[in-house]
């Protein structure tokens, strides 16, 4: 007996943090969802590199869709993180003024925060600021504190979202690029590198290629992606003790500026830059910029001057000519575009997903929520949690710098979302991401991955 060609309820194009969150939301709402990712692994585009902050939206444009999604996303992350074993480090942020001009702008920024319903911001004098952050450059003039700005794990969170979709009936297709498609009034047929695929609704969450997917499926697009590159430098665990808060500058018209903050893994990062470019694939690092970031970090935390950079990375944000998110339901086409999620995608993902689910209902997709969905329990990689190396039966430590056990790496390779690339394995386990960058464990880690992908 031949199987009839299967028709999904929803096809989500793109497995970045936004696509993963949308797949979860729609699956929990009872839809049969397929996620199409052109790369060999999920989180391979804009979502692979960011500053790992869960934003409150205190500095988002008032009344923007971005603000609404960030705040809805924040609330849902706060509600679900413990159940998923995902970290949430409520360290708070300080917005720091280094000049009289910047100091003069602080009241307006606090006013904007309150207008955005972030009402718990606290102004700080220079003395109060230095009491909270004793390693800060004493040239700081004033600051305000945003208590609920937090740190999260930018990779285990979207993994958890997609894993929950998969555990509850969702499908992921990797190495599956969408080149075009047609809509017959009820059903989309998408042309993919893995053959035609049928779905009642399509969600374009293609990130850096969002405008191209719109053009391929709709023949037009209402925005043009202009990638904005951000380079970062990362310092080792010893430097993480230098800052408790997320240290933010007073923003400019084009960028939130260069942030200094810890990571949930106990490192310290400085970045990002904001560099417009045409290339959508390659986020190149430049030695001169990396040196500038190190120097910038040392201006803020003078002790950083003595610290060695342990890791470097760069990412591309899918910015466009508009300031706000470009989320649209296309009337009569059973399609929603989620475009230009330029720098707050990690914070807003769950809220953006809820917004998209509502737009799809408006297009006639009726939800039938699952009564008892399965919840994945993620491996805890953050310093705040109980790590596997602290438990018995861990098979010993494989990556000594980041304290990753053999059991953790084997578990990642034995997961429904098992990585196919070294970068993917690193995102799931942190193996080789520490100060030695694989000097000790690089070969063993690559062999484990090769055995897993050969099998």
């Amino acid at each position: 007996m031949t199987q009839p060609v299967q028709t999904y309820d929803i096809a989500v194009i793109g497995a970045g943090v936004i696509g993963c969150a949308i797949a979860r939301r729609l699956t929990l709402d009872g839809a049969r969802v397929v996620v199409l990712e052109k790369a060999a692994d999920i989180l391979d585009g804009a979502s692979k590199a960011n500053s790992a902050i869960l934003h409150t939206g205190f500095d988002a444009p008032e009344g923007s869709l971005e603000l609404a999604c960030v705040q809805e996303g924040y609330r849902e992350y706060e509600a679900l993180h413990a159940q998923f074993n995902l970290p949430l480090d409520r360290c708070g942020a300080l917005v720091l003024a280094w000049s009289a001009e910047q100091e003069a702008r602080l009241p307006a920024l606090m006013e904007q925060a309150r207008a955005n319903a972030v009402s718990d911001v606290v102004p700080l004098t220079r003395t109060e600021t230095l009491a909270l952050e004793p390693n800060l450059n004493p040239d700081v003039r004033a600051a305000f504190r945003v208590p609920r700005e937090s740190l999260i794990d930018p990779w285990s969170a979207p993994h958890a979202y997609l894993l929950q979709a998969l555990l509850n009936g969702g499908t992921l297709k990797r190495n599956c690029a969408v080149s075009g498609g047609s809509f017959d009034g009820a059903i989309w047929t998408l042309d993919t590198t893995k053959g035609p695929l049928r779905a009642r609704h399509v969600v374009n969450a293609a990130g850096l290629y969002g405008d191209r997917i719109d053009a391929a499926l709709l023949g037009q697009t209402q925005f043009t992606i202009r990638p904005r590159k951000g380079q970062f430098v990362v310092f080792d665990k010893m430097a993480a003790g230098l800052a408790r808060h997320i240290l933010l500058p007073v923003p400019t018209a084009t960028t939130k500026g260069i942030v200094v903050c810890r990571t949930v893994w106990g490192n310290l990062l400085v970045g990002p830059t904001a560099e417009e470019q045409d290339d959508r694939e390659t986020a190149g690092l430049e030695a001169e910029t990396l040196r500038m970031l190190h120097a910038k970090g040392a201006e803020i935390l003078p002790a950083l001057a003595q610290e060695e950079v342990t890791s470097i990375y760069a990412g591309l944000r899918p910015a466009c000519e508009h300031k706000d998110y470009q989320i649209r339901a296309h009337a009569g086409r059973n399609m929603v575009t989620v475009g230009a999620i330029r720098s707050t995608g990690l914070s807003s993902a769950l809220g953006t997903a809820a917004h998209v689910a509502r737009l799809l209902q408006g297009q006639g997709h009726a939800p039938a929520p699952l009564s008892a969905p399965q919840v994945p329990r993620m491996a805890m990689l953050a310093e705040e949690g109980a790590r596997d190396w602290q438990a018995s039966g861990n098979d010993g430590m494989l990556c000594h710098c980041e304290r990753v056990t053999w059991r953790e790496v084997r578990a990642a390779l034995d997961d429904p979302l098992a990585p196919k690339t070294l970068a993917g394995l690193k995102r799931r386990t942190r193996a080789t991401m520490g100060r030695c960058q694989g000097f000790y464990c690089g070969q063993a880690v690559q062999d484990l991955l090769a055995e897993s992908t050969d099998a």
Binding site: L285, V309, I312, W389, S392, Y440, Q443, Q446
Partner: protein, 401 residues
């Protein structure tokens, strides 16, 4: 209250040449229960994956390859009654010789009446060198390349570029041959080859072009390296390759020391020691490449043996109090900050019946230097280049006396 931690006479952290020779010597000196903690699954340290000579000349007057040498170190230690615990990672050092460890059966604490930190050294990775470009596969330090040759059936690349010309870069060259890889070039950012004379001929003999005054400005490729951009005298050009071996730039594996607040030498980045190899906390001693990146296995082996004798003396209460130490006085290396480090960094009032482990000062320079230096009150003429070991006799009496 938790129970008292397991206590042993001597705890050795690191089962490389320094740690294993120290453990063996401690047993031979009647050092009681000697336990070596090794975080890898197999003891032996870096020589385990150095598939070439020369090893063993100083120790046993035999020419050996690294793996056989590592096995022999382990056999000698076990034969002397040393207990080696592999897959046991030290996660924290506490005052007085108590250490936290993580093992497959979970975490716990062990105390050594004396503890040797033989933590070794590692190469500077690509990231710390701020080399630009993308982050494809196929970029690695020499040790990782050696691990592929020794332990893996996989080949990380076929046509790599080798960056650097310290001695270890020539190990990378030889290891590439073992792996069947053909290096396309060897690059030296400076004007001169760092390793000593005879090695300068090696690339030519192996048919590998050597480019001086050449640095990598960008690495290209997505999944795997597909080329690099180099700059030489202001001119950029591309070299096609599928890997980059980033060699040398050794630095001590000092994270545990820093986290414990033990005093470090800002030049060596290793611990500050006295002439007995003791750290500022006198329960802790140190030997091998964590002190001085980087010396040969044979040098570290000898140093481990010498420090072990001081540890045995410490167990008998025969060492002078650590707090009598005064900084070693080095004067006369006047060209900027030409002196990278000199060890031991401190001298204690000597104990006449205990020969110091460090009876000579070991120095390295950052810049070429020739001239007169005064070390611990004695004048010496030195002429040396960076990354070369200088040793000068050390009179055990501090200048103050």
């Amino acid at each position: 209250m938790t129970a008292h931690p397991e206590t042993v006479d001597a705890l050795i952290i690191g089962a490389g040449p320094a740690g294993l020779s120290a453990a063996t010597e401690l047993r031979r000196q009647g050092g009681g229960q000697v336990v070596v903690l090794e975080r890898e699954a197999t003891a032996g340290g870096i020589p385990r994956h150095c598939l070439h000579s020369p090893y063993g000349l100083r120790e046993w007057k035999r020419l050996m390859f690294g793996p056989a040498y590592a096995k022999r170190l382990v056999q000698e230690a076990k034969g002397a009654g040393v207990e080696i615990r592999c897959q046991t990672t030290v996660t924290a050092l506490h005052p007085g010789g108590e250490v936290d460890v993580s093992a497959p059966d979970g975490p716990r604490r062990i105390r050594g009446r004396v503890v040797l930190l033989a933590l070794g050294a590692r190469e500077t990775p690509r990231a710390a060198r701020l080399i630009g470009g993308t982050k494809p596969g196929g970029v690695m330090n020499t040790a990782t390349l050696q691990s592929f040759a020794a332990f893996s059936k996989h080949r990380p690349f076929h046509r790599p570029v080798i960056l650097g010309t310290e001695l270890v870069a020539f190990s990378a060259l030889l290891t590439c041959r073992t792996l069947g890889a053909r290096p396309v070039a060897m690059l030296e950012p400076g004007p001169e080859i760092t390793a000593r004379g005879v090695f300068a001929a090696a690339p030519r003999a192996l048919g590998v072009p050597l480019y001086r005054n050449t640095r990598i400005t960008a690495i290209h490729g997505r999944a795997q390296v597909d080329g690099i951009t180099v700059e030489s005298n202001g001119v950029q050009r591309d070299i096609a390759c599928d890997g980059v071996v980033v060699t040398g730039g050794f630095r001590p594996e000092n994270a545990l020391l820093r986290a414990a607040g033990l005093a470090l030498d800002p030049g060596s980045l290793g611990p500050r020691i006295d002439q007995y190899g003791r750290l500022t906390d006198p329960a802790y001693f140190s030997a091998g490449n964590v002190l001085h990146p980087i010396e040969t296995a044979g040098w570290c082996w000898e140093e481990g043996r010498r420090v072990a004798r001081c540890m045995a003396a410490a167990l008998n209460g025969a060492l002078p109090p650590r707090d009598t130490a005064e900084p070693l006085a080095v004067d006369g290396v006047t060209q900027g900050d030409a002196l990278a480090y000199a060890l031991p960094q401190e001298l204690c009032a000597p104990a006449p019946q205990v020969p110091p482990a460090f009876d000579r000062v070991q120095m390295r320079l950052r810049q070429p230097f020739s001239g007169q230096v005064r070390v611990a009150g004695q004048s010496h003429w030195i002429a040396s280049r960076p990354e070369r070991r200088i040793t000068l006799p050390l009179h055990p009496t501090p200048e103050a006396e």
